[in-house]
């Protein structure tokens, strides 16, 4: 199988970006993919969806996904066709939710420290490496356990479970 590669431009955010920033609670009943996408990051950057391109990467500081358990937050990011979320650290439920919906969540604090808004980056998820194509610098990250990597390869927990149930 070929390496799983993601390439896109960086949208950089700070520490403690909460699920209220990612998908404000007033939009939580709006569960269709196009609605979720349109409201992505609305609590911190109301124009976010109109500025991004498919494959772009969200980069954040400490503790992204702080707060509520709403899966609509990572769903909104995925529906907006963001390729991955890279952060110094993740809040617990948000981290699990990212994998459950098939959105790579990558902890790479050294990379986050160096990267700038708009940098073009390439993530080799299979090898656990990030290259900042704008600066040429390379970084490594520790991959999650194999079963979570499989969630990403299959598209989330539901397809993974389907496969398990067939066994």
């Amino acid at each position: 199988m070929d390496d799983f590669i993601l390439k896109g431009r960086v949208w950089k955010f700070g520490d403690n970006i909460s699920t209220d920033h990612i998908l404000p609670s007033r939009y939580m009943t709006h569960v269709e993919p196009h609605e979720l996408a349109a409201n992505c990051m609305k609590g911190t950057d109301p124009d976010f969806f109109s500025k991004i391109h498919p494959g772009d990467i969200i980069v954040a500081g400490e503790n992204i996904g702080y707060g509520s358990s709403r899966e609509q937050a990572p769903q909104a990011i995925k529906c907006a066709q963001i390729g991955a979320v890279v952060a110094k650290s993740f809040a617990r439920i948000f981290y699990r939710n990212c994998y459950n919906v098939g959105l790579p969540a990558i902890m790479a604090p050294d990379f986050v420290l160096d990267v700038n808004q708009g940098d073009l980056i390439e993530i080799n998820y299979t090898q656990g490496g990030i290259t900042n194509l704008t600066t040429g610098k390379k970084y490594e990250f520790i991959k999650p356990p194999d079963f979570l990597v499989e969630y990403i390869e299959l598209g989330g927990l539901i397809p993974y479970l389907e496969k398990q149930l067939k066994k």
Partner: protein
């Protein structure tokens, strides 16, 4: 305030990201003492010992969905081929976020949930009954030794009953609904020992906001916290929940308190009927932190994060447009009672909307019997039906841009009650005193009660 033992930065980075890194420690070898959380997990995983970092699959004893997350969970569940509900007696839907339904969309979601529940013979806690985890506690589903999952992040509050209770997302809950099990990474445990006695007008909510202020929003990410000590022993069950619910805002995986007679009476159990675990004498803690709360001041969390706590004198005088008693952690009977003590014979300031959203229908019943509701209404309170209500700006008590609210609710992130609105978090006493004065006020200045 003394901090007996400070977690160093290295330690915090160890706590950070264990789950994310997937550090796997094989069980076996020399037996080491376990914390309560480790014992619950080991028991459920059928292992003699578990250690922090280890990933285990465990059966779930009770699972509940709320109306904001159930629609996605139902949709995901229906994607599974031939899926059936693992045990409908261990599942409940709770209609609490949009209760009674506040929009057409919410009404449709409620309808779908009721249809699904009927088809699969699952219990529904109807609109008006209350917020999920207080209701789950009242119904006696939270019992020592159990593993309880909810689609609400504040599910951690059920650890008050000596069980491992934590929040998960919709898709994961769909999988739990089908399989009755979940993977968990064994968390490291931090022990918080609370000594001393609360001063006049100081409440469990002040203790919670004080802990949040000390640990910050991510310091305890992925960790279990065991909270015990003379202060905990002195509190009633719901006052304890006011603290454990708020622990989520420090990033914890679960919070757990010791099981005593008050807990057993509340759940109608006995030492014999319940699976009560005690930590081993040689249990390994990531850290043990001790606080004496005797000199604690009223705490107010300034807008932005629930961990932005300051002593009330640093926030006093800020003018408010709204004051709120609400949410799972801030609208128990003891909150309404405390507010009524302050408001008895007084009137809410004409420039303030004082909104009360009790967290369960039982709170309403008890408050009515005790005359608390008439005291609050006579003072000018506006009552809404038991629900999450103002906490997430769920169509009750939404703020206009630049308006300010002081609230007993759980969170104060930007826009939480409406874009541009500012939220200060505080105890019911501080909220009630502020409602009277029209600005943030130290409740001790108004006197009365306690």
């Amino acid at each position: 305030m003394k901090l007996a033992l400070r977690l160093d930065d290295n330690h915090s980075s160890n706590l950070q990201g264990r789950e994310a890194r997937g550090v796997f420690i094989k069980s076996g070898g020399i037996f080491m003492g376990m914390t309560v959380t480790e014992k619950i997990i080991a028991n459920k995983a059928n292992l003699s010992q578990v250690k922090p970092g280890q990933i285990v699959q465990v059966p779930v004893d009770f699972a509940f969905f709320h109306d904001n997350n159930a629609p996605i969970a139902i949709r995901q569940f229906s994607r599974l081929p031939n899926a059936s509900v693992w045990d409908s007696s261990k599942v409940m839907f709770v209609l609490d976020h949009h209760s009674p339904s506040t929009t057409l969309r919410a009404a449709q979601h409620h309808q779908n949930i009721r249809d699904f529940a009927k088809k699969h013979n699952i219990k529904v806690s109807e609109v008006g009954r209350g917020v999920s985890h207080p209701v789950v506690a009242e119904e006696g589903y939270a019992r020592p030794g159990r593993i309880i999952l909810g689609t609400d992040s504040h599910t951690v509050g059920l650890g008050t009953f000596g069980c491992l209770a934590t929040g998960i997302g919709s898709t994961e809950m769909a999988a739990v609904l089908a399989t009755g099990s979940i993977w968990l990474q064994v968390p490291e445990t931090v022990k918080i020992w609370l000594d001393g006695k609360l001063g006049p007008h100081i409440t469990p909510k002040d203790v919670a906001l004080f802990l949040l202020k000390n640990f910050g929003p991510s310091f305890l990410n992925y960790a279990a916290v065991e909270i015990a000590g003379p202060l905990v022993d002195s509190l009633n069950v719901e006052e304890r929940m006011a603290i454990t619910i708020m622990c989520l805002e420090m990033g914890v995986k679960n919070a757990i308190m010791p099981v005593d007679e008050k807990i057993l009476n509340y759940i109608n159990g006995t030492q014999k009927t319940e699976k009560i675990f005690q930590a081993d004498k040689d249990a390994v803690y990531a850290s043990v932190v001790q606080f004496d709360v005797s000199s604690l001041e009223p705490i107010v969390a300034t807008p932005g994060l629930p961990t932005n706590g300051v002593e009330v004198n640093q926030a006093e005088g800020v003018e408010i447009n709204q004051a709120t008693l609400g949410s799972c952690s801030g609208a128990f009977l003891h909150d309404l009672e405390a507010a009524a003590e302050i408001l008895k014979g007084r009137k809410v300031h004409p420039g303030v909307r004082f909104v009360v959203v009790p967290n369960s229908s039982k709170v309403v019943e008890k408050a009515a019997r005790l005359g608390i509701i008439s005291t609050l209404v006579e003072a000018g309170a506006i009552f809404s039906s038991p629900a999450c209500g103002t906490c997430g700006g769920y169509e009750v008590g939404v703020l206009a841009p630049d308006e300010t609210c002081i609230s007993t609710t759980t969170r104060n992130m930007d826009g939480r009650m409406g874009p541009g609105g500012l939220i200060y978090l505080a105890s019911a006493r501080t909220v009630a005193a502020s409602a009277v004065m029209g600005k943030i006020t130290d409740p001790r200045k108004l006197g009365g009660g306690n």
